[in-house]
Assembly symmetry: C2
Homo-oligomer: 203 residues x 2
């Protein structure tokens, strides 16, 4: 059977690192920013613009009467982009056993019964991780980082909840939820791979 | 450092099996019904009576005016039993590296920073498991089993939420949440042990 692993994650929890290392360990293809690049190629839209559209969630547009026309246009534009992204994710899954990080791939690919991982961490651990990996020149306080983390996750949740039948981060929708607080992600990869293999071998 | 692993679980998800196998694999002591036996010994109360008192939750007593006196007495009786159970759990943890299943041990033993596992499963998988392990003579329909599962978990949640600062089953409170649907529990024990060891070795 097809081996698809999806990794959903709280911002700053190390989900992307876990996904990448897991793909390497299992010898699977890995998709993350590759999806954004493909979107950009297909739409001729800038990646930053796309990321704003696809991570903020349609429901987040300001709800004033005066802005209603631009809201409708903006929402339909977002919906079109979401549909296109889903198509790309489905095309990827058709031809690859792979690990896909984010982008609601767990919901989009439910027909493949992927192994669905959710990665999270305590707030202080996420702040620490963000600090250690801040882009050069970014100097945010802990409070600012916490605000940024919460805002990004709010966008992910709002975007996800538009097209999924369950809420983002609700554990019942995942096969494994890993709290990375106090863990060195590299050290747990063989163990996570062990659970993934037990799942696919048991089917 | 002390190695304490707590296993909280939805009824029918295989949490007890996972806890027992994990303890065996790691060479740790295992506590589950042993705690109930010790409670029974210390209180001279019947184990079934204790189990009713300790799994139903204080808030579940009927809230009629006429029953208010018996409710107060019943609630204070339950509170006393909860306190006694917590004392037994703390005494166990003082002298044992161990796996403890249920009984809110994760909240009671927070000072030890235990590795906290939550085991859950999809409802059809839990019903199937309950059927396969039904006590002799018990012949419940799927609907009756689902009702039983929900009722037991409601009691666990209500009891747990009395003394814990977070809600029962809320993933942020656990280190690892495992959905056993589609998994053979025996097969994932080495992997779960790998994550547990990474946690304790990383501290």
């Amino acid at each position: 059977m097809k081996k698809i692993i999806t990794v959903s994650r709280e911002f700053g929890s190390g989900g992307r690192e876990l996904g990448k290392r897991l793909a390497d360990y299992l010898g699977l293809s890995y998709f993350d920013s590759e999806i954004a690049e493909e979107m950009s190629k297909q739409t001729n839209l800038d990646m930053d613009y796309l990321s704003g559209k696809l991570e903020r969630g349609v429901a987040h547009y300001p709800a004033t009467f005066a802005s209603s026309f631009s809201r409708i246009s903006s929402a339909s534009n977002s919906a079109m982009l979401i549909a296109k992204q889903h198509k790309i994710i489905k095309d990827i899954a058709k031809i690859n056993d792979c690990v896909i990080v984010g982008r609601g791939a767990d919901a989009v690919l439910s027909e493949y019964a992927p192994f669905k991982i959710f990665v999270y961490a305590d707030m202080p651990a996420k702040i620490e991780r963000c600090k250690n990996r801040a882009p050069e020149g970014e100097k945010l306080t802990d409070k600012e980082l916490e605000k940024k983390i919460k805002s990004i996750d709010k966008g992910r949740k709002s975007m996800y909840d538009i097209f999924s039948s369950h809420a983002w981060g609700e554990k019942s929708a995942y096969n494994l939820c890993i709290n990375t607080t106090g863990l060195d992600i590299e050290n747990i990869i063989p163990a996570v791979a062990g659970i993934v293999n037990a799942y696919f071998n048991g089917e």
